[in-house]
């Protein structure tokens, strides 16, 4: 992905020198300007590469010593210097997945309402309020989670899911309901990524051409059929882009998750059980990690998180690309 994003810049710069130099070549300001923005453009990918390199080098001793078991073992014991990050990797992926499963329908629903149904005067204030969710610091989400979300989860919600709905018969809702859990982390993440998905989706839906809707209505489609059959497919790739943005946020979120997930190095199928995430692990242990092996293990966790983020993003972008291609050929 980074390769394709660099090459257009380079191409443009080349084109620029070919056509522009003849006319403006004498203007020193132009050349300085071009040099400066090229420098900026090169800086960002370079910075990412440098960060990745530094983390990889620092984490290398761990990868070499533990090999694949670093990714598959659940044994994280700083006292005995044994490091296995499987519970944190599992927790990161599962909590983000829960967040997206909950947030996506909500966010898309909000955007459809705002772009298709809401009266004009309502759009701005409601949209603004949804966006405002993104402005709340994550530690505030964490505190809200501890004092509001956890008590509600512990008393009515979790026993209701487990016993009243009978979900306790599945492996996903078993065990005691203490509050801090994968479910709590997933829920708080859902609230936190919702504004990202909603904001992007709303803009994309508003950009769907009027003709698209009118054509569907003219063919006798109901309002529902118009939205489902003509508007949403048109906006599909943009909405998925919003989901990717939310996913990126969910994978890396640290503070709120640390406060609600229970920080337990254990893989449990039950969403009521506590878990761990990679970002929380680094945040919790980095400040006091004094041995080289421990530091290296935390760096290795950081590198793994980076790689997983890249892989997940690549898959998501591939999805956008496929869907985008489909959408381009499909409409009407």
């Amino acid at each position: 992905m980074s390769g394709s994003s660099i090459s257009p810049t380079v191409l443009m710069a080349d084109n620029g020198s070919g056509t522009v130099v003849g006319i403006h070549g004498r203007h020193i300001g132009d050349r300085v300007y071009r040099g400066a923005i090229t420098l900026f453009a090169v800086c960002v990918p370079l910075l990412v590469a440098l960060v990745a390199w530094e983390i990889a080098v620092a984490g290398w001793p761990t990868f070499r010593h533990f090999g694949l078991s670093f990714l598959t073992s659940s044994d994280w014991d700083p006292v005995k210097q044994r490091f296995g990050a499987a519970p944190a990797i599992y927790g990161t992926l599962v909590s983000s997945a829960i967040a997206l499963v909950i947030a996506t329908p909500l966010a898309v629903g909000v955007s459809v309402f705002l772009s298709e149904f809401a009266p004009r005067w309502m759009r701005q204030p409601v949209g603004f309020l949804v966006d405002l969710l993104a402005a709340i610091p994550s530690v505030v989400y964490g505190l809200w989670g501890i004092f509001v979300l956890l008590p509600v989860l512990r008393d009515p919600v979790m026993p209701f899911l487990r016993d009243t709905l009978g979900l306790g018969k599945t492996p996903f809702f078993t065990g005691p309901a203490y509050g801090p859990s994968m479910l709590a982390a997933g829920l708080i993440l859902a609230i936190m990524v919702l504004p990202y998905i909603a904001s992007v989706s709303r803009e994309v839906l508003l950009a769907v051409p009027r003709a698209q809707r009118e054509a569907a209505l003219a063919l006798g489609a109901t309002r529902w059929e118009t939205i489902w059959g003509a508007v949403l497919p048109y906006a599909r790739s943009g909405i998925i882009g919003g989901i990717i943005l939310g996913l990126g946020r969910a994978l890396g979120e640290t503070m709120a998750v640390t406060m609600l997930i229970g920080n337990r190095q254990e893989i449990s199928a039950s969403l009521l059980a506590p878990g761990y995430t990679m970002a929380s692990l680094i945040a919790n242990e980095f400040s006091e990690a004094s041995s080289d092996a421990h530091l290296s293990a935390l760096m290795a966790v950081g590198f793994t998180l980076l790689v997983i983020t890249i892989i997940v993003n690549a898959i998501a972008r591939w999805l956008v690309w496929r869907v985008g291609g489909g959408a381009a050929s499909k409409p009407l």
């Binding site: 020193i28 300001g29 300085v32 044994d75 994280w76 014991d77 700083p78 006292v79 005995k80 501890i146 004092f147 956890l150 008590p151 512990r154 005691p176 203490y178 509050g179 801090p180 640390t258 406060m259 229970g262 920080n263 337990r264 190095q265 506590p274 929380s280 945040a283 919790n284 242990e285 400040s287 006091e288 990690a289 004094s290 041995s291």
Partner: protein, 362 residues
């Protein structure tokens, strides 16, 4: 062109200067006395433990008022304090756990440990039906945190609390999620009293916990305990006191049940201090201390200083401060809920301060 180029450079310079203002800590030590500007700003810099930060910042403020010598302390955590001292980027370090032999060997010179105050760790719990503080032995406490005892009406808890109606509630262990000196002291105690604990999680600032939920900070732990009947956890004594948390009485080495308090924490240090050999390096644990009034989960927190100082001016300032905290500073410790050192230790530590020397070559 020159104008446009100097723009961003000037900006960067401004930012650097601004950062330097806040973090001048790391510069002063390496610049030594040649740069008067930084020497006037801060005389000594230190970094390390967060647990004693409130009392340290009070000491440094009081000391600055009395002597106009400024000490900059960054509470970045014990591990960071040891690393910065080892790199000689600070004049002194601070740690809640004594430096290991391995860490000592990595430092650029011999490091001395100076105990400053005593911290105690209280065991708190949520059992609303209990009228009196629960009584526990070290072994029972270890088995609770190991997950061997899972119900509050377990016969071994009953044996320590005759006549108390204990509920049949499940035990929920809550522990610190992040690395912490509190966890180190607590696990040091459990390792001392329980062979099982010493084998399995052992002692450290972060552990592989057999059971329970990890919460962030004293406040996170206390919050979780308050919300969950049947929960048990450990928090700093100061935090437990300031928030009126119920605390367990623990059976100490002399067989007495002792509640956590400033007096019982100082008593723990006194119990050990009497028996210290003359050549001690003060890297000593005072958990499970002897003495009828000693609270068993207590620990020193230390200032870390190089025995051979490279800069004579700083060495003098540092030694002056060390003497000051032993005499004036200790008196104010209890106001912030830290236990002061027992008197027997102060005179011995005074002599130890005098042994800090200026070695000349770096």
């Amino acid at each position: 062109m020159t104008f446009r180029k100097t723009g961003p450079i000037a900006l960067v310079a401004t930012v650097l200067v601004a950062c330097g203002g806040g973090g001048s800590a790391s510069h002063t030590s390496s610049d030594s006395t040649k740069s008067p500007a930084s020497a006037v700003g801060v005389d000594l810099t230190g970094a390390g433990a967060t647990f004693p930060y409130p009392i340290y910042s009070k000491w440094f403020a009081d000391y600055a008022r009395e002597t106009s010598i400024k000490i900059n302390y960054q509470s970045i955590g014990s591990g960071g304090g040891i690393r910065q001292l080892s790199e000689r980027t600070v004049d002194f370090g601070a740690s809640d756990a004594p430096m290991s032999d391995d860490e000592l060997s990595k430092a650029k010179g011999a490091v001395m440990h100076f105990p400053t105050v005593i911290g105690a760790v209280a065991v708190t719990y949520n059992l609303p039906s209990l009228q009196t503080p629960i009584r526990l032995t070290g072994n029972v406490l270890a088995d609770l945190f190991l997950g061997h005892i899972t119900k509050w009406n377990d016969s071994r808890i009953k044996a320590e609390n005759p006549g108390v109606a204990l509920p049949a509630t499940d035990v929920l262990v809550v522990h610190r999620a992040e690395a912490s000196g509190t966890t180190y002291i607590f696990s040091d105690y459990l390792s001392t009293v329980s062979p099982d604990w010493a084998k399995a999680p052992g002692k450290g600032k972060e552990l592989s916990w057999p059971v329970g939920i990890g919460a962030k900070g004293n406040e996170g732990v206390a919050g979780q305990v308050k919300q969950t009947p049947g929960a048990i956890a450990y928090v700093e004594l100061a935090y437990a006191k300031q928030n009126n948390l119920p605390t367990a009485q623990l059976k100490n080495a002399s067989g007495a049940y002792v509640a956590p308090s400033i007096e019982s924490a100082t008593a723990a240090a006194a119990g050990i201090a009497d028996k210290l050999p003359n050549n001690t390096d003060y890297r000593i644990s005072i958990v499970n201390a002897p003495g009828p009034r000693a609270y068993p989960i207590a620990s020193f927190t230390w200032l870390l200083v190089y025995r051979n100082q490279t800069d004579a001016t700083k060495a003098k300032k540092l030694k002056d401060f060390l003497h000051w905290y032993l005499h004036s500073g200790e008196g104010t410790a209890a106001t912030l809920d830290y236990a002061p050192l027992p008197d027997v230790m102060k005179t011995r530590l005074d002599a130890r301060v005098d042994s800090v020397s200026v070695g000349g070559a770096a």
